[in-house]
């Protein structure tokens, strides 16, 4: 139940953001610091969610088992640096996770 309300509220709020200046018509001059800050939000959120996601994947696993997600992240970082493509992280990271998980469980 909560999930539906959260998604509805976030959607409604986002729509009001989109409408804000269009309805108020006059151009809202956004302060320069707010423009700078708005460009930092998504990278900061992505980094925070990535860190918690990797931590969540490692918790509950033993020391050796936890090496699998960490190896996958390391391989993903190298792949992105090498190729310059963000999606290389998934294309290289997931197979690395499967291989290291199966190696470590034997």
């Amino acid at each position: 139940m909560n999930a539906w309300i959260v998604i509805l509220a976030a959607g409604l709020g986002s729509y009001l953001f989109r409408l804000s200046a269009i309805v108020l018509i006059d151009r809202i001059a956004m302060p320069a610091y707010l423009q700078r800050a708005s460009r930092l939000v998504a990278p900061a959120a992505f980094a925070a969610l990535a860190a918690t996601g990797v931590a969540a994947a490692c918790t509950g696993l033993g020391i050796t088992q936890a090496a699998a997600p960490l190896a996958a992240v390391a391989a993903a970082v190298i792949a992105v640096l090498r190729t310059g493509s963000s999606y290389a992280a998934i294309l290289i990271g997931m197979p690395t996770l499967w291989i290291t998980t199966s190696l470590l469980s034997h």
Partner: protein, 246 residues
């Protein structure tokens, strides 16, 4: 508003201008659909982030935080903070949509997001005739909307049927790592990313999953301590956003 053959020509021109953006947003939509299917929320609710929130990073954050069991208010605030740039986009388009009918403003605003802003602005700068530019915006924006929802639907459908040993829940953290790594080259973004990741790890056990919100705030604060690049003075808001439906 869409009446003549000339309008159809402009609709098609907008759709063509949008085509290159689809290469970036379709994989992103697939990943979001997958995560909606894997998350501990109804898949339909996850899918609804598409038509309701209609902004990729806020959708990822919403789905991930709901999955982690964060408090509702924390999730809503995080999603809205991520979408604060929409205020800027609204202000960017407002002069072009001044004096247009209400139904148009309600529809055009709903479709406003990074790629539609880019294609739309290009049209308004290129075409002297406002009406033609509106139609061109609509052509690009509707194609984007349809492709985005289709990609999420495919991801969600495929994601439900796949076996657990694939650990598809790890696709999103990897995707986020992939998005963050290239941004490390920019000093302000590097500070933001490293500070946010560090605070997120330190605050893992914070109540209500406030750690993520704290981490975002710390990242923004750290990023603001970097000297603004010369190009940050640019008037074009899109030069600093990434390629996709962020």
């Amino acid at each position: 508003m869409i009446s003549s053959l000339a309008d159809r020509h402009d609709l098609a021109a907008g759709a063509r201008a949008m085509a290159p953006w689809l290469l970036g947003i379709v994989p992103f939509g697939l990943v979001i659909g997958l995560s909606a299917a894997q998350a501990d929320i109804p898949t339909l609710a996850g899918w609804l982030t598409g038509p309701l929130i209609y902004a990729g990073s806020a959708q990822v954050a919403t789905i991930q935080m709901l999955d982690a069991g964060a408090a509702p208010i924390v999730v809503v605030v995080a999603a809205l903070v991520i979408n604060i740039r929409l205020l800027l986009y609204s202000a960017t388009m407002a002069p072009y949509w001044r004096g247009t009918p209400w139904w148009w403003r309600l529809l055009a605003a709903y479709l406003l997001i990074d790629p539609s802003l880019a294609v739309g602005l290009d049209g308004y700068e290129r075409l002297a005739d406002q009406h033609r530019a509106h139609v061109r915006y609509l052509g690009g924006a509707v194609l984007l909307w349809a492709s985005w929802l289709a990609a999420i639907s495919v991801g969600a459908t495929v994601g439900v049927g796949l076996p657990a040993w694939l650990h598809l829940e790890f696709v999103i953290p990897l995707f986020l790592v992939g998005e963050a790594v290239p941004k490390l080259a920019n000093p302000a973004l590097r500070r933001a990313i490293l500070a946010a990741a560090t605070v997120a790890l330190l605050a893992l056990s914070a109540p209500l999953h406030l750690g993520i919100a704290l981490a975002i705030a710390a990242g923004i604060a750290a990023g603001l301590t970097a000297q603004p690049a010369v190009s940050a003075r640019s008037a074009h808001p899109l030069q600093h956003t990434t390629e996709a439906l962020r």
